[in-house]
């Protein structure tokens, strides 16, 4: 499972969540870059990712992920 694999999954999840197939995520993407990705949908996104990978993020991490890349790194860390 490469970082790019995870990024692809996260992109699919966010597209589904916001029902918008034109969303493109990069490692550098931040919430404010994506229209509609508000705090409510951030939690929804986190929940969907946790279900997808069968992982649980620490609350401290959820509050401090700097960008999508940080989430990808943490997933890789939790799955290793």
């Amino acid at each position: 499972m490469t970082a790019q694999d995870i990024l692809a999954v996260l992109t699919r999840i966010l597209r589904d969540l916001l029902l918008n197939d034109s969303i493109v995520l990069t490692m550098e993407s931040r919430r404010e870059d994506i229209p509609g990705w508000d705090s409510f949908n951030y939690i929804n996104f986190i929940v969907a990712v946790e279900i997808e990978y069968g992982v649980k993020f620490k609350v401290a991490d959820i509050e401090s992920f700097a960008n999508v890349g940080a989430i990808v790194t943490e997933i890789a860390n939790l799955k290793s």
Partner: protein
């Protein structure tokens, strides 16, 4: 190292959507609103997780529908002491699954008291039909010291429940709405370990006590319960409560549990509207017993003690029998030689279910979809009232495809899980348990006797005469309240307007002198058919001497017995006593009430030329002075209530 994870509650009875993403996008490409809504509703019938539920809700929101043909609108207000935003999509999607269009409103979290008491709040503007109180146990626990005595705990809980009841009263008074109260999930941590249950002031003990008292109060006040406490016990508290989410945003229900939460609530809303299932149709081979009777023979099938599989099949029989005792109709639909299948019931010593437990027994080699239609017709219930339990995935798929309105649980491969799957689906969700429910099985057996009598009679007239029928009638009474609400809201065929009434509205009507309410109980020489018909008349808005038949329902069990004629005789007499000159009545056509499309002309009503609002509504008038009493074979046996 990662935190412990728990798996979300799974709605195992629903089939898995073959390709949800593609299906949803196909639905979104559907232009016509009605078609798109149908596609979304059929997608909602699948086993959707957290993310799929949100997507479906978004797709539904794009249609921004307040009403649609074939869908019942519901206005629901959620008054909560925790965050519930994440639950609303799941509530709407679960409604869609049951053909309910739920308009859900929620106030700011923790503001429920102000929302209710402030007449200018958004909740008041919204005017809900149903109010859900979703409160946490925290407020109750907070005020009780750990060393409180049992008496002190009881006193504090009594005060808390008393407060709650005044909120219920307030909501009822303000909106005339039905009330659903969420039970209290136990999210407390053990303090003493096993000894917690022996300490009255221990948090988990308080929650248990609180739920006990809540149930008593709800039963007394006619409030329905959304039992998340029970659900979280079944699925495990970690599936329902996530400390992280609580800390982050005061979410009492963990988001992954939202789909199940929505389903639990939508069941109740559907049950209130008469949309719960009524009849459990069971397959035989590999469902009621293990093996194939035609191949394995009576000694070869697996059933009963001595084998885990045999006991699992017996457990399903036992569960079906319990459902029958609470008023669910049982039927058999099996591809089998009818005599060989029937012999198992008579000859196998371990069979718990008997032939007499089934109101319909169909074993043949025909297509099961056709057989299910036959069963619905024979029982005189809507085909959408059936649940079909079959171990064979191909048969299930066939029924889902050709008769999507039937409930078809996706039985797991493991026989041991059959009962759990059927029970979790809770197709027969109830909003009451009446003496009619307890006698229903008996009444279907009696109906079989009447059927036999009809077959042997030379004419319909001879049959009706031989039944020696009598009717007991009278106004609505408090004693019959629950049954009246149930009958009105469950009846779809003989229902003139399909207007639904909350328990509160019926209570008001019962005590309203200007309204004329009538209930009818039909007896005959074979048995008591119970309270089978109700009529609600109210003064027409612009004429004092005109009563409008606002709603009239009759149980399908007594169709063809002339009760509608005798009921009208009784209604006319009651009207004349009040000095009423005329009855006005609307017949509002639905897909289900065609059986009474000629009811009013047959009774002597005349059509009103100007059609009021739509083609589906026909308005009829009856001049009471001209009414000639209909001759029937039903005698008056006295007054009810």
């Amino acid at each position: 190292m990662q935190n412990a994870t728990s798996s979300p509650p799974v709605m195992s009875w629903l089939p898995i959507a073959p390709d949800f993403r593609a299906s949803l996008r196909a639905a979104l490409d559907t232009r016509a609103t009605a078609d798109r809504l149908q596609s979304l509703a059929s997608l909602a019938g699948h086993r959707l997780g957290f993310l799929e539920t949100i997507q479906l809700d978004r797709a539904l929101a794009q249609l921004s529908l307040k009403e649609a043909p074939g869908f019942a609108p519901v206005r629901l207000a959620v008054l909560a002491s925790s965050t519930v935003d994440h639950l609303l999509p799941a509530i709407r999607v679960a409604g869609l699954r049951r053909r309910l269009l739920i308009d859900a409103h929620h106030g700011a979290y923790g503001q429920y008291r102000q929302d209710l008491l402030d007449r200018t709040s958004s909740v008041h503007k919204f005017a809900p039909e149903t109010v859900l109180f979703a409160l946490t146990a925290r407020e109750a626990i907070a005020g009780i010291p750990l060393n409180a005595s049992t008496a002190e705990v009881d006193q504090a809980i009594a005060k808390f429940i008393g407060d709650l009841r005044s909120l219920w009263r307030e909501a009822r008074g303000a909106f005339n709405s039905s009330i659903i109260q969420q039970t209290f999930m136990d999210v407390t941590e053990p303090l003493f370990g096993g000894y917690d249950r022996l300490v009255p002031g221990a948090p988990s003990r308080i929650v248990a006590r609180l739920n006990d008292r809540l149930c008593e109060a709800a039963a007394q006040d006619g409030v329905l319960l959304l039992d998340v406490a029970r659900a979280s016990e079944r699925d495990g508290i970690d599936a329902w409560f996530d400390t992280g989410r609580w800390l982050q945003g005061k979410l009492e229900v963990a988001p992954p549990a939202a789909p199940k939460y929505g389903d639990l609530l939508a069941r109740i809303l559907a049950a209130q509207r008469g949309l719960s299932k009524k009849c459990l149709v069971l397959d035989l081979d590999n469902t009621l017993w293990g093996g194939v009777i035609g191949d394995d023979g009576i000694d070869g099938i697996v059933l009963g003690e001595g084998s885990a599989v045999g006991e699992a099949h017996l457990a399903l029989q036992s569960y079906a029998k319990q459902l029958k005792e609470r008023g669910v109709i049982l039927a058999v639909c099996s591809k089998n030689d009818p005599r060989i299948a029937a012999a198992v019931f008579d000859e196998h010593p371990e069979m718990l279910l008997k032939r007499s437990d089934f109101a319909a027994f169909v074993a043949n080699w025909n297509d099961k979809a056709e057989n299910l239609k036959t069963i619905a017709t024979k029982l005189n219930i809507g085909i959408e009232s059936l649940v079909f339990v079959d171990d064979n995935p191909a048969e299930r798929a066939r029924i889902r495809q050709s008769l999507p309105m039937i409930g078809v649980p996706e039985l797991p491969e493991d026989t041991a899980q059959y009962v759990r799957c059927l029970a979790d689906a809770c197709y027969f969700e109830s909003v009451g348990y009446t003496s009619e429910d307890q006698q229903r099985a008996q009444q279907y057996t009696e109906n079989a006797e009447r059927e036999a009598l009809l077959q042997s009679a030379q004419s319909m007239d001879e049959f009706l005469c031989g039944l020696k029928m009598s009717v007991v009638s009278g106004p609505f009474t408090a004693v019959d309240h629950v049954r009246i609400v149930q009958l009105i809201n469950k009846t779809n065929q003989f229902n003139t307007t399909t207007r639904r009434y909350t328990s509160e509205e019926i209570a008001q009507l019962t005590n309203m002198p200007s309204a004329l309410t009538l209930q009818f109980r039909l007896l005959d020489r074979i048995g008591d058919n119970g309270l089978v018909s109700t009529m609600i008349l109210r003064p027409a808005s612009d004429h004092d001497d005109v009563l409008e038949i606002e709603n009239w329902v009759m149980s399908c069990r007594v169709f063809g017995r002339q009760l509608e004629f005798e009921a009208m005789n009784i209604a006319v007499e009651a009207g004349r006593q009040r000095g009423v000159k005329m009855f006005m009545a609307d017949y509002i056509a639905t897909p289900k009430n065609d059986v009474i499309s000629s009811l009013y002309p047959n009774l002597g009503f005349s059509a009103v030329e100007s059609v009021p609002s739509s083609n589906a509504v026909q308005r009829w008038l009856l001049n009471l002075d001209d009414y000639v009493m209909h001759d029937t074979h039903i005698v008056r046996a006295g007054a009810a209530g």
